[in-house]
Amino acid sequence: MTISIWRFSHLTLAISATLFITVASLTGIILAFEPISNKINPYNVVDTQTISIAEAIAALQNEYEETITINIDENDFVIANIITKEGKSETIYINPKTGKKVGDLIEKSPLFEFATNLHRSLFLKTTGRFIIGFVSFLLFLISITGTILIVKRQGGFKKIFSKVVKEDFNQYYHIILGKWFLIPIAIITLTGIYLSLEKFSLLPKNKAIHEEITQNSPSSKLKPTEFEIFKTTKLSDITALEFPFSSDEEDYFNITTVNKEFAVHQFNGTIITQKKQGLVSLGSYYSLILHTGKGSIIWSLVLLLSCFAILFFIISGFSMTLKRRKSKTNINNKFTKDKAEFIVLVGSETGSTFNFANAFYNALLKIDKKVFITTLNEYTTYKEAKNIIIFTATYGDGDAPINANKFIEISKKIKQQNILKFAVVGFGSKAYPEFCKFAILAHANLQIHEKFIPTLPIYKIDNQSFESFKIWVKQWSFNNQLVLNIHEEDIKKTSKENIDFKVLEKTNQNVDDTFLLKIKPSKKVKFVSGDLLSISLKNENKNRLYSVAKIDKTILLSIKKHEFGVCSTYLNNLQLNENLSAHIQENKQFHFPKKATEGILIANGTGIAPFLGMIKKNKKKKIHLFWGGKTKESIKIYTDLINIALENKSLSTFKSVFSQEQQEKIYVQYILKNHAKLVVDVLKNGNVIMICGSIAMQKGVESELEKIVNTHLNTSLTEFINRGQIKTDCY
């Protein structure tokens, strides 16, 4: 079945039950404390496993006139209903060894009383009970549909517990908590349903009856403390013991355990009848224990956390829905589908792909082109169209987004009159193994279609990179002999404000035309090594990104001056104390993970910059730096920082290779095979390998790592990439 059905039902169920689920979970939070507050009372003075019924009876006979019942509750507290020597009837906690009173019965506090009534029946008696029972059922269905959504997203049942890619806070924790709390919530809802059914007498009748064990009882007369069954049964084995009502022979001792009931002759201790509790009443017993957390602090805490999780699901679920709604910008087409020359088709799950498509659509409108934009599922015939452009995301394990899932099927059936040119842009995240898979399928599908001619090969965009989108727009407009103007602001409405950075230090260019630039932000800004400094110069649409090193609140950049590079030339011409206008872009996926205890950092050329900052900050972690440059001279601008780091042990190992110092060229990836053990250890322990520098180097390094992982770990590198243990920032 399609995702849409599951999401639709998940959402519909959630909307219809939210109010009541909120009440139930808020009161559930309060009620989770009841078993905890009961359990911490000091009434279990004696271990009930060490004391027999006979001993307890002897102690009670000593202390009181008469005992009516003994109960052992979920907390192993022993409760006795007794008549004191003064003839008063009392129900108290006792010490079963001495018979002495250890406390009065715990009275339900008014708060718990209030919460219980609200939780069970919303103060609406029967109607409320029914609503709550029904809502339990809905919540159960919600958790089932939610599980199906997770399965779809993760790409199969087997992968349900594999790592989730973090794209959005709400979404990420909605899934993570969904996985963790699936079982507790299923238990809470199912037991809740069971308890409701019980209240409405909808469970099958309990047919268990007492079966006779012995008929004619021997006439011997024993004291209860001498009964074999009382001597051998421990208090922990029973839940209740009722004493005979009178000294009539047909009045028995009644023993209740979790799954049995016995009647015991009051003169000789033989078992007269016994009854096995039916499945229904066992179900009730365990439902109550599991639903309320009685007797277990740990389970109560699980219930408590589940209630919080449910509240979080409500909040994050709705904020995700709102976001999705919002970003599905209304399509207001200026031209009809049969008038337009350009057709923009969109497949978008979260709506962000729509932002790109809309910017493209508007840019075409601006140059007076007739454009029509719609979703891929709305694909149909177009009379005047010459050009179709598809923008699509991919969902889960290479599936189509919700509004594109019919496209491939219908595109085969619909007959276009004209020959159409087409181009496909895929949006996705490289962190997923099936990166842009649906876009590839859509592209392939049109490619074999006789009415379609590709203008450009399939183009994939990682993490909504505006830079790569611009490159594609440029290629596409060149192919179509158009001039399109799209700015980053057209896509993300939030324009980032530049701030000033003061130049503190600048080195001279070394042999590779590389130099270091130390700048200081004029305002307080939060950033870490690995973030990007985005510089856009006047008269230049394109902004340049430099990976930054954070060193004592300043930014250190390593820049290669290209002969005709506008930006690098500009930076090279900066004077001390001069200001530079730029902003910092967070680059979360390239931060050194806080939890990692060891890391291998691999760079070539200026790619070393973010690593210098990471090393500078390091105190306890083991960091190994591999660096490749052209000549021995190349490293000179970094040697000071590296030597200090080696000395104070913030850097454990440093290996460098120089490609042009000898006959054959040696690149940094070549020395990795000498350190296979290190690589294997780092990956096995869940630590991290970070790669920064040129794309060529990245490819080389990854293929070396792939070999190591294949031979030593018997798995593929993708697994570690997906787990975020291999981080790259290459250009």
């Binding site: 009516i68 008549i83 003839g87 009383e113 008696k125 007498s201 009502f245």
Partner: protein, 164 residues
């Protein structure tokens, strides 16, 4: 000085009053052990009120209340109409509810002067959403009856009483 002496006297007086009253009570009523055996119904625990009715059929005294959440007392309609007007303290004679098939044993104090005098004892029962029995068990307060087993008409299967 004078006030001090009165203050000293106060506990003595209080003690005497308490002693007097408890003595009085002791002489006037005798304890009975009372077992209520419920029928096998499903659902919530039953609320049960045991009261004494005078020969005219009016409520005289509440002996026992089974069920400690006063939110549900109005379910026991007849008694609540009486109790609601003149609220007596029933804290000391209240016990927990019991469910279908269970039994409870409690000790109730029956005033001696009401036995064999045309008074009646009444057991009213109510189970949430399942109904109310005004006289689930009702019988003449005679020494003979107080020793026997009496069948119930509603949620109670039978009751048994024996003198302590």
């Amino acid at each position: 000085m004078k006030t001090k002496r009165t203050l000293l006297l106060l506990p003595v007086v209080l003690l005497m009053i308490t002693a007097l009253f408890s003595f009085k009570k002791y002489t006037e009523s005798s304890p009975y052990k009372c077992m209520i055996q419920m029928k096998n119904y499903t659902g919530e625990g039953a609320y049960i009120v045991i009261s004494i009715l005078n020969p005219k059929g009016e409520y005289e005294e509440t002996l026992y209340v089974q069920g400690d959440d006063d939110e549900w007392y109005f379910d026991i309609t007849e008694w609540w109409n009486f109790q609601g007007k003149k609220r007596a303290n029933i804290d000391a004679i209240t016990g927990a509810t019991i469910s279908g098939g269970e039994r409870s044993i409690s000790v109730i104090q029956i005033p001696k002067d009401k036995v064999n005098q045309g008074y009646k004892i009444r057991f009213e029962t109510a189970v949430e959403d399942q109904g109310y029995h005004k006289d689930d068990v009702e019988f003449e307060l005679t020494s003979e009856n107080l020793k026997s087993k009496l069948e119930g008409k509603g949620f109670i299967r039978y009751i048994r009483m024996i003198p302590q």
